[in-house]
Structures are given as structure tokens and as C-alpha cells.
């Protein structure tokens, strides 16, 4: 128990210190974790061999990440991106893997190992790149979108790679690694050898795999069967299950259910000898259209983040400094050579796919590193006896170093490229790339807003915490998601970071205010349109940071007023003019009062507020008593004919 607490303290402390520091230096969190690992491992020696065991738990973060990636992949969105995914992404993987493979074979590495190395190094770092792009606000730029499509194809390609790698196994490595146990490397570290890993997980896998010894056709049937179970179960069972749980209105039980689902799938996959990552990815895709998608994302995100963080720490801790310094120039040379080659391939693809100017540079520079899936594949390849341990260790260093250099590439892009190359700036008057709109609250109000947005072809993400409402509207083709939109995690899962506009149409007044406050503070790039219940609520929303505030019954009341005036025989255009002036004045008054209103003070004690309110009242009273001074002038202004007997020409001076 004590040692567990000690371990946890060391890891958490390292992460808590290193990650914010790395972020502040603009290096990003992945590097922060890696550096934390380096510090507590090889540098200070706080942790040692046990990191390898820990890494197996941490790899579960990758399984979760694939589930979450699957959740993002609506079949429709995938289809829309098909050219870039297959063309750009596919070519990048094939060309890079081929080039690396060619280099390896040229230096005398056997074909199967060379292929595995090529696959490992072809991948880039989704975690670093996506995070950096979103931190710098480049996700929706042309270069950013192209980079994302390549990363997505790589993420998907990981799954066939995981299936392919065991086929490349070298008999001598498998045999050698079988019974040998941990191998102590030259430097005294326990190497991440196939032996050590077999000892840990594969032995378990062996005993877990229930299909051993069964005839081939039964195995095939069971494998297919379990995939079918995931797809059908994901489609038909999850909804009633989540609906039942959501009705309990217990947040932690929903989280527990989400975890149960992921771990259950991973278990099923392990039992039948398939990749857990593949299973959860499938489940993610199946659930991508479900109304629980964002709620699931919000609940699993922290687990994924922490586990991946732990994974990166263990990678950092496992870096073999002895090896690095023994051959520092060779390793640095290989790393820089790899990055130069990846950059060159990406740059050429950028030309082929007509990515222009600055965007092409961003695209090619951002993806020039190797990535975290490289780590996963490396540990997987060594486990399977595909890549020998000493080579794997060298590759691990190259991958880690290339990731370490990535922030430098982004800095290079910002300081040099984006200054030197100025491309056609998007026109101020043209809508180029519009982000999504998040509509929070799908009642009478939100539905109309949503329909208008959809009618103009905008992508909306609709959230509501009334489970029955969301389920009911889905039957009419309204694609809503279940979840409490006032929870920051859910907003983040729904994509508030990339959203352009947030429509707050919740009927819960306090939640609406909290939500506006949070978004105005944390995501100031999002324009907020808020629905207010009444005047006080308007003031509260204004104080919370909303500027486009719509009183929910104001416009309909004005229309009713117009009909009443017309019914009294007023000329419809005179009514229209009167209504316009009324609306303009009322809104100006409300804005005045909203600026004076103080949430800490009751309006009756707020002197400035009371004074302005009285002044407004006097004006309105005067108007009502027929002394329509200012009001009258304004309705007539501009259409007033010149005074009778007035001269059209000013005789002047």
C-alpha cells in the first residue's frame, strides 16, 4: 500500500509540475509528460523497472483514445473526407513507410523488420499536433484540416497495422523471447525486451485466450461473432441501457456505465484474441450517431487523458540515456534525417493535392515527427517478436526525440514561414470556413433556432438534458445529444473549442447564466446568443458576458401589439414605424439599465439604476399621455415633408 501511494505521488507530482511548465513554454502537454518521465526515470532514478508493468495499464489509455476517435467518426463525415483520407493520408503512410523501409534495407536490416520499422515511423503524433493546432487556432485553416485528415487516416491505419504486425514475427525472436524472462541490458536497465513483456502480459493473454486448441472454423466463427456482438450490441443495447441510467440522474453511474462498456469490450476482445483497440474503435463508430455521444466523450475524456499521460511518462522513464549518449550524433542524425524525409514527402503530397502556400508549409511541418502510436506499435512489435529489442530501443529514442523537436517546427512556422509567405487573406466579406453552432436547449426556442441554422446549411450540435425530449425528437429526424450543456466537460466534448457560435436556449435560468459565464470566460472566441426569461434575467446574462440577448416573449409581444393597433384602424405602415421606434427605444433603455445593474446590489438600492429607470418612466408616461414629444418626432423623422412655405434652396449666409 505504502509503495503504491509513493509511486502514485511520484508520478502525479512529476506530471503536475512538468506539464504546466511545458505548456507555458509552448511545448504542449505530451512533451511535458515525456519530460516528467525522463526526470523521474533515467535522470533522478525515482522509478525503475516497474514502469514497464505500469505501461501495460497505461496502454489502456490508447484503447480509450481509439474509442473516442471512433465516436468522432460519423460515417457521413468520413465519407465526405474520403478523397483526403485515402489519397492524402493513404499515400503519406505508404510513401513514408516505403521510404523508411528502403533505408532500413539499404543498411542491411531484414525485410520484415524493415517493414515494421517503416510502419512505426510513418505515423505522426495526433496528440501533439491536434493539441498544438487547436492551441494556436489553426484547426480550421486549410493546412490544419489537411493535417487532421492525414492524422485520422493514420489513426484508422493503426488497426490493420496491429493485425498485420504479428504476421511479420521472426521465429528466432519469438523463440528467444519465450521463456527467457527479463533481459538486463548493457546499461543495467531492464530493457523493454520481448522477454520481459511476454512475462507480463502475453502470459496472461495466453491463459485468457479461451479459443486455444479449438478447430479453426470455430475460432473464425467466434471472432466474427464477437464483432457482430459489438456492432449489434452497440446499436441496439446501449440506448435502452443509457436511457435507463440517465433517468437515475446520477452522474457517476453514467461514468461507471461508460467505463464498464469500454472495459467489457476490451475484455471480450482479449478473451477471443483480438485487439481491444479494434473492438473499442468499432464500438465508438457504432455509437457516433447516438444521442449519448457527447455525454460519453465528456465522461471518458479525463480517464483517457490521465492514462495517456501516464503512458507518456512511462515512455519518458524508459528512454535509455546510456544508449543516447553513446551514439548521440548517429541518433540525432537519424532523427533529423527521418523528419526531413517525412517533411519532404508531405511537402510533395501538398503540391499534388493543391494545398497552397503557407498551408502547405504548416501541413508538412506539423506532421514531420513520429508519434505516440509509434510507441504503442513498438511495444506491440517487440511483444510479438517482430523487432529486436535493441533496435526497438533505438527507434524509441528516435520517436521521442522527433516529438521533442516538434514544437520547434511550429515555432519555425510561426516565426519564419507565416511572416515570409503571405497568401490571399480570406475576404472580410466572405464566409470561408464557419465553425459549428452549439445549440444548448432543444425546447420550443432552441428548435426554431436549430431549424433556421440547418436551413442555411450550417452544422449544429444540439444538446439537451431532457432525455425523453432528445429521444422523442430523434424520431422526427432532429439530431440531438443527451447531456447537461451547463457542464464544461460536455461543452468541450460537443466541440466548444472549434465552435463559432453558442445559442443558449435553456429554460433553466441559472444554468443559462452559469453557462454564459463559463463560455465568455474560457472560450472568448465563441459568440453567444442567449435567451432571456425576463428583464432581470437579461441583466444577469449581460453581467455574465452575453451581448446578444433575446427576451423570449419580446418579439412576439411586439407583433401582437402591431396587430392590435392595426385592428384599431391605424395604417399598417404607421404601425410598423411606431413598432420600430418602440423596439429601438425599449432595447436602448434595457441596454442602459443592464450596464447599470449590479448583481451584488438589489435594483432598489442601486442609485444610478433607479435614477435612469425613473427618467425612462417619465418619458414613457409623457408619451402615453399624448405628449408624444421625442417618441412622435422619431416615428415621423425622415418621412416628414418639408415645412409648408419652406424654401427648398437655402438662401444662406
Amino acid at each position: 500500500m505504502e509503495s503504491l501511494l509513493l509511486q502514485a505521488t511520484i508520478y502525479l507530482a512529476a506530471a503536475v509540475i512538468a506539464v504546466p511548465v511545458a505548456n507555458r513554454l509552448g511545448l504542449g502537454s505530451v512533451l511535458g509528460y515525456l519530460i516528467a518521465g525522463v526526470v523521474i526515470g533515467p535522470l533522478l532514478g525515482f522509478v525503475g523497472a516497474e514502469t514497464k508493468d505500469l505501461q501495460h495499464y497505461a496502454e489502456f489509455g490508447v484503447v480509450m483514445m481509439l474509442f473516442l476517435i471512433g465516436l468522432e467518426l460519423e460515417p457521413r463525415a468520413l465519407w465526405a473526407m474520403r478523397t483526403r483520407l485515402i489519397g492524402l493520408g493513404g499515400l503519406q503512410i505508404i510513401l513514408t513507410a516505403g521510404a523508411v523501409m528502403g533505408f532500413c534495407m539499404a543498411v542491411g536490416i531484414p525485410t520484415s523488420i524493415a517493414l515494421a520499422v517503416g510502419l512505426v515511423l510513418a505515423l505522426s503524433s495526433t496528440a501533439i499536433v491536434m493539441q498544438t493546432l487547436s492551441e494556436k487556432g489553426l484547426t480550421t485553416s486549410e493546412g490544419g484540416r489537411s493535417a487532421f485528415s492525414v492524422l485520422l487516416s493514420q489513426d484508422i491505419a493503426v488497426i490493420p497495422m496491429l493485425a498485420l504486425i504479428p504476421l511479420l514475427a521472426l521465429p528466432e525472436l519469438v523463440v528467444e523471447s519465450g521463456p527467457s524472462g527479463p533481459v538486463i541490458g548493457e546499461t543495467g536497465h531492464v530493457e523493454m525486451s520481448s522477454g520481459a513483456d511476454d512475462h507480463g502480459s502475453d502470459a496472461d493473454h495466453g491463459s485468457m485466450n479461451l479459443l486455444e486448441g479449438l478447430p479453426g472454423w470455430i475460432v473464425t466463427l467466434i471472432l466474427l461473432g464477437s464483432v457482430v456482438v459489438i456492432v449489434l450490441g452497440g446499436h441496439y443495447l446501449t440506448r435502452p441501457m443509457f436511457r435507463f441510467i440517465a433517468q437515475a440522474k446520477l452522474q457517476e453511474i453514467f461514468t461507471a456505465a461508460a467505463l464498464l462498456m469500454i472495459i467489457g469490450i476490451a475484455l471480450l476482445m482479449t478473451v477471443v484474441g483480438l485487439s481491444p483497440a479494434l473492438g473499442t474503435f468499432l464500438a465508438g463508430v457504432v455509437l457516433a450517431n447516438s444521442e449519448y455521444r457527447h455525454e460519453l466523450e465528456a465522461n471518458l475524456e479525463p480517464f483517457k487523458g490521465l492514462l495517456l499521460g501516464l503512458f507518456f511518462i512511462t515512455v519518458g522513464a524508459g528512454i535509455n540515456f546510456g544508449l543516447l549518449f553513446s551514439d548521440i550524433f548517429v541518433i540525432l542524425g537519424l532523427t533529423l534525417g527521418l523528419m526531413a524525409m517525412k517533411f519532404a514527402i508531405l511537402y510533395v503530397l501538398g503540391i499534388l493535392f493543391r494545398i497552397r502556400g503557407q498551408a502547405r508549409w504548416l501541413f508538412a511541418l506539423s506532421l514531420a515527427q513520429a508519434g505516440e502510436f509509434g510507441f504503442v506499435l513498438l511495444s506491440f512489435t517487440t511483444q510479438n517478436g517482430v523487432i529486436p529489442a535493441d533496435l526497438a530501443e533505438l527507434l524509441l529514442l528516435i520517436v521521442a526525440l522527433s516529438m521533442l523537436f516538434t514544437p520547434g517546427l511550429f515555432i519555425f512556422f510561426e516565426r519564419v514561414i507565416s511572416r515570409r509567405i503571405t497568401v490571399e487573406m480570406p475576404e472580410e466579406d466572405e464566409i470561408t470556413e464557419t465553425g459549428t453552432v452549439i445549440v444548448a436547449g432543444l425546447g420550443r426556442f432552441g428548435q426554431i433556432v436549430n431549424r433556421m441554422l440547418l436551413s442555411q446549411g450550417h452544422k449544429t450540435v444540439v444538446l439537451d438534458y431532457h432525455n425523453d425530449l432528445v429521444a422523442g425528437l430523434r424520431k422526427f429526424g432532429v439530431e440531438g445529444f443527451f447531456g447537461d450543456p451547463s457542464r464544461p466537460e460536455l461543452l468541450i466534448a460537443a466541440g466548444i473549442r472549434e465552435a463559432s457560435v453558442l445559442v443558449v436556449s435553456l429554460d433553466d435560468r441559472q444554468k443559462a447564466v452559469d453557462m454564459v459565464q463559463y463560455v465568455a470566460r474560457e472560450h472568448p472566441h465563441v459568440k453567444i446568443v442567449a435567451r432571456a426569461y425576463d428583464r432581470i434575467h437579461t441583466y444577469q446574462l449581460y453581467a455574465a458576458g452575453a451581448r446578444e440577448i433575446v427576451r423570449e416573449t419580446f418579439d412576439s409581444s411586439v407583433r401582437a401589439g402591431k396587430y392590435a393597433l392595426e385592428a384599431l384602424g391605424h395604417h399598417p405602415f404607421a404601425v410598423e414605424k411606431a413598432a420600430r421606434v418602440y423596439v429601438k427605444q425599449d432595447r436602448a433603455h434595457l441596454a442602459d439599465l443592464a450596464r447599470l445593474w449590479d448583481p451584488e446590489q438589489s435594483p432598489t438600492e442601486n442609485e444610478a439604476y433607479v435614477a435612469r429607470a425613473r427618467q425612462i418612466n417619465d418619458e414613457l408616461n409623457a408619451a402615453m399621455k399624448g405628449m408624444r414629444t421625442e417618441f412622435h418626432d422619431r416615428t415621423e423623422r425622415g418621412w416628414t415633408p418639408p415645412p409648408k412655405g419652406g424654401k427648398p434652396q437655402d438662401d444662406g449666409e
Partner: protein, 206 residues
């Protein structure tokens, strides 16, 4: 060098998204230094003008330009509404109405019909200068100096025929000349349209 003349462009296009000539013109105008560009349909989508703001804008500029595609031999509706509301008695004309006195006024417009249509023998029967008589007289009553319009005919075919680029370049030239007061206004009032011969309308460099 004397102070640059301040230019106000009031742009009115009810179908901006589908524009092929006015849109690049508007873009070029927006990019020029020290020119106030107002997209009226964008600022007042329901035609509810802020009259005070509009009048202040007029006071703050020396050259007033209407930029629009011709609709039924006149401006789009918003520019007519703008005139009805903003050019008030006592501001633009009538007793005390001298706010616009001495400013320069010009229209930059595009037409669908070809140049040959706009004369007594053509199917439109009137020249553009004749059709713009209401604007010319409005300018006159407001004591502004009306100069010949900047004009592009057959605008619906201009993009296909590659005429947009030259037109935009000429427009920049006109704006720059107005800004630096190098345009001979007296001569510019007499021609049929400014872009018939811009160089001929430039004053000699001193």
C-alpha cells in the same frame, strides 16, 4: 501636400453573394487606405437607418460615392430609402441645410445592358447620364458637385470576357486621383463616364 480628400463609399447590392463585378470592386475599395466603405445592406438589413450616424458620416467626408448595380434604371431600393431618410430638410437642403455644400458626388454603377442600348436609338432609349438625372439634381439641390459616373456595361458577361480586372484597376486609379485631388472635376462633370478616358481627366502634376 494638402490633406487627402476623405472619401465615403455607400455600397448597395441586394445580392452581394452573387455579384461578379461589384464584389471585387467593393473588395478593392475596402482595401484602400483611408476610405470609409459602408455596406448599406449589411449595416441596415431591414432598412432601419440610424439617421444621426448617417448624417455624421456625410459631414466627415469630402467625396460621397454611391456604388451599386443599376436596378430598373435607378439605384437599388435601399439607396432610395437612404436618400428619403438621411437627406433631411434643414440638413441637406432647405433653410439651414448646408451640410453637404461643396462636396463631390459620384455614382459608380454597373448595368446589365450593353453600351449600345443606352442612347436614343438603343432599346433603353436614354443615356446613363440622362437616367441618372434624379441623382444629379439631388446633388445639385444639396449643392454638391456631380461628376460623371464610373461605369461598366454588360456586367453579366464581364467576368467571362475578362473585363473585371481592368475595371477594378481603373477604379483604384479614380479613387486615388479623388483622394489626392488630382481629378479635374470640372472636366469630369462634362464627360459621359469617368472611365472613358481617366488619364485625360487628371490634372497636370505641379
Amino acid at each position: 501636400m494638402p490633406d487627402a480628400r476623405r472619401i465615403l463609399v455607400l455600397y448597395a447590392h441586394p445580392a452581394h453573394d452573387r455579384s461578379e463585378v461589384n464584389r471585387p470592386l467593393a473588395r478593392a475599395t475596402r482595401r484602400m487606405q483611408d476610405i470609409t466603405f459602408v455596406d448599406l445592406y449589411s449595416e441596415y438589413p431591414t432598412l432601419e437607418f440610424d439617421i444621426d450616424v448617417e448624417q455624421d458620416r456625410l459631414r466627415a467626408h469630402d467625396v460621397i460615392i454611391f456604388m451599386f448595380p443599376m436596378y430598373w434604371y435607378s439605384t437599388p431600393a435601399i439607396l432610395k430609402e437612404w436618400q428619403d431618410l438621411v437627406l433631411e430638410y434643414g440638413f441637406a437642403y432647405g433653410t439651414g441645410g448646408t451640410a453637404l455644400s461643396g462636396k463631390t458626388f459620384l455614382a459608380a454603377l454597373t448595368t446589365g445592358g450593353p453600351e449600345t442600348a443606352y442612347n436614343a436609338e438603343g432599346y433603353n432609349h436614354f443615356t446613363i447620364r440622362e437616367l441618372l438625372a434624379p441623382l444629379e439634381q439631388t446633388a445639385s439641390l444639396c449643392r454638391m458637385r456631380f461628376i460623371a459616373p464610373f461605369l461598366l456595361h454588360s456586367a453579366r458577361r464581364a467576368a467571362e470576357e475578362g473585363r473585371v480586372g481592368t475595371h477594378v484597376a481603373e477604379w483604384r486609379q479614380v479613387l486615388a486621383a479623388l483622394q489626392s485631388d488630382r481629378l479635374d472635376l470640372e472636366a469630369a462633370a462634362k464627360v459621359s463616364h469617368l472611365n472613358a478616358d481617366i488619364d485625360g481627366l487628371l490634372k497636370e502634376e505641379l
